[in-house]
């Protein structure tokens, strides 16, 4: 089932007198349960595409349909509401709220949804358990390691069972060992929880854990199937 449809999306922005076009008439389909990695050189527009699919950046032209809703047509307020119920965002720098504990950080997205306190508590506990951080629930971000912070970030992204989880360089700030743990965790999120994941990374090894690998070059997408098939296709 197609979950996300990116149709003829172009992104342009001005850099002084020059107009830059990181994405030019891009097309992409993401299916329910996909784990898709997006690679490309710095400035290639991979994070821009991810942010547009997550509803935090605007397209210059084109459409992005998520479960049939064209999110490019939503007002800023409606888009915020849509993000609350459809998107879980994993940041490169974790972006936890420093004054809130791990538990409270994970609970934040749930405060935007209609839900009883008991249900919230249950979901937060499950999410923290999923990232193996139950014993750190009362810790503040400053009391945790980078890897633990990122795991809280993942718990926060999945706690509301969003339609789509997006991760922008989720291992960019981590050492090799922690990177491995985080990638494993993302794989589990996809395999065991069945969540659709879209990950931007510049790390080839990291990208290889994804079911679908997409490269972005000169504003166009190129898809490579998993190593077993080793088949390259052009998505655009």
């Amino acid at each position: 089932m197609t979950l996300v449809q990116v149709k003829n999306v172009t992104k342009q922005y001005a850099n002084g007198e020059e107009t830059i076009t990181p994405l030019n008439e891009v097309n992409l389909e993401v299916h329910q349960g996909d784990f898709l990695s997006l690679m490309g050189a710095s400035g290639s527009g991979k994070s821009t595409l991810l942010n547009m699919i997550a509803g935090i950046d605007e397209v210059t032209s084109g459409e992005i349909l998520v479960e049939g809703t064209d999110i490019t047509k939503l007002s800023r307020g409606k888009l915020a509401d849509w993000r609350a119920s459809h998107v879980g965002y994993i940041f490169q720098t974790h972006n936890l709220i420093p004054v809130l504990t791990a538990y409270e950080n994970v609970e934040m997205p749930l405060l935007l949804l209609k839900m009883s306190a008991a249900e919230r508590r249950k979901r937060v506990e499950i999410a923290l358990e999923a990232v193996n951080l139950t014993d750190r629930a009362t810790h503040y971000p400053r009391q945790m390691s980078g890897g633990q912070e990122q795991r809280v970030g993942i718990a926060r992204a999945i706690v509301a069972s969003p339609t789509l989880v997006v991760a922008d360089e989720p291992t960019g700030n981590l050492d090799d060992e922690t990177t491995e743990q985080i990638l494993e965790l993302l794989q589990r999120v996809n395999n065991e929880l069945g969540m659709t994941l879209l990950m931007v990374t510049h790390d080839i090894e990291a990208s290889e854990i994804a079911k679908r690998q997409i490269r972005l070059e000169r504003g166009k997408l190129t898809e490579r199937q998993s190593e077993s098939t080793n088949r390259e296709i052009t998505a655009a």
């Binding site: 950046d57 119920s85 965002y89 490169q92 720098t93 972006n95 004054v99 409270e104 405060l111 926060r156």
Partner: protein, 386 residues
């Protein structure tokens, strides 16, 4: 619209304790200054407002202008008024008519060499009948060579309150006077005066005349009757003015002082807004990434702005409460000297409304522009901000 949790705003205040504490001290100081200025204005207004009684008519010299101190009227005036007017309050066959001598003079308080400018009123036992708010709170009515000290007389003289305690002495017009008691007068200007027997004062001053006659009019008695008396007895050169009107005209005299007070309130509040703005800009600039993360999660800009305002308002409410407490404990009732006597600073309900209201406005005005500036940063830029 879903708002951010209350704890988020509260905990952010403790994020940078030193900055928060400094801001709190700054806001408290600003609000306390506003309390002091408003208490000054309110105290002055209350003192002058309380000094005038609607039923009391003052008769004094036509030539004295608006100042009773310069007035001189014949000693027979009270008897003539009593015999000629029917409208004067009378009870148990005693007419409520008070002949008085009133002057400002240099007074030395026992134990000090310094002479303070004080106000002395020579009165008879009829004075409390006319000035019904007057109440002896300690000691007794003054006998020969004695004075009754008003509650704020020490402030007018620039001495400690204990220096005018019952049994102490003061010296003026070459004579020593023993303090026989103390009185209050509902916060009116009389409280800054010394009252002594009229005859003793006339003897000390070597004068036979009076400064004024104060009369309490009976229900139905009219000012017109007194005015007619004054206009027909041209030989006495008198004028009649309702006491309330007399003090209202003095209030007009102090209007520029009050206006200046309000200007000071505005200036202080303005300075406070800039202090608040500076703090909130500092607090918000360092949190752009966090605020953008909240937006990425789905919190609306309005909810985040409200949370930032909540933080600033919490701080300003804290400052307001501390300032109000200090104002009640240390400012309220503090005596202040002015030309007409002395009055007590008054932290009343209006002062609290203005002080705390200004505090709230400081919080709001200090938070809105920085919050709006932070919300202008796009989410994409913000989530990667350092």
């Amino acid at each position: 619209m879903k708002t951010l949790p209350w704890e988020y705003g509260v905990r952010n205040l403790f994020r940078r304790p030193a900055r928060t504490a400094l801001t709190l001290v700054g806001l408290t100081t600003v609000i306390l200054l506003i309390f002091v200025v408003v208490a000054f204005i309110r105290g002055l207004e209350a003192s002058l407002a309380a000094s005038g009684d609607d039923d009391v008519v003052l008769v004094y010299a036509l030539s004295s202008g608006a100042d009773i101190e310069n007035s001189s009227i014949p000693a027979r005036t009270p008897a003539l008024l009593a015999a000629s007017l029917d409208g004067i309050q009378r009870r148990f066959d005693v007419q409520h008519i008070s002949p008085e001598v009133y002057l400002g003079t240099r007074i030395t308080v026992a134990g000090t060499d310094k002479k303070g400018l004080g106000l002395v009123r020579g009165v008879t036992t009829a004075a409390p009948l006319v000035r019904s708010k007057m109440q002896i709170v300690e000691g007794e009515w003054p006998g020969p060579g004695e004075v009754l000290a008003g509650k704020l007389a020490h402030s007018k003289l620039g001495c400690r309150e204990e220096a005018l305690s019952v049994g102490s002495t003061v010296t003026f017009d070459g004579r020593e006077w023993r303090i026989s008691g103390r009185f209050t007068a509902a916060g009116s200007a009389f409280e800054s005066e010394l009252w002594c027997p009229l005859q003793d004062m006339q003897t000390a001053l070597k004068r036979q005349d009076l400064s004024l006659v104060a009369m309490k009019m009976a229900p139905g008695g009219s000012l017109a009757e007194v005015e007619m008396f004054c206009s027909e007895r041209l030989d006495l050169e008198l004028k009649a003015v309702p006491e309330a009107q007399y003090y209202a005209s003095l209030q007009q005299h102090y209007k520029p002082v009050r206006l200046l007070g309000w200007v000071v309130v505005w200036l202080i509040a303005g300075a406070g807004v800039f202090a608040g703005l500076n703090t909130m800009y500092g607090a918000v600039v360092g949190r752009v990434r966090e605020l953008s993360t909240l937006q990425a999660m789905g919190f609306r800009r309005r909810a985040i702005t409200m949370s930032l305002i909540q933080e600033a308002v919490l701080l300003s409410v804290g400052g307001s409460l501390i300032a109000a407490l200090i104002a009640f404990l240390l400012v309220n009732g503090t005596a202040v000297r002015f030309t007409m006597g002395a009055f007590a600073l008054r932290v009343d309900s209006l002062a609290v409304v203005i002080g705390c209201g200004t505090g709230l406005v400081l919080g709001l005005l200090g938070a809105v522009p920085p919050a709006m500036k932070a919300m202008r940063v796009t989410v994409v830029e913000g989530i990667k901000a350092v």
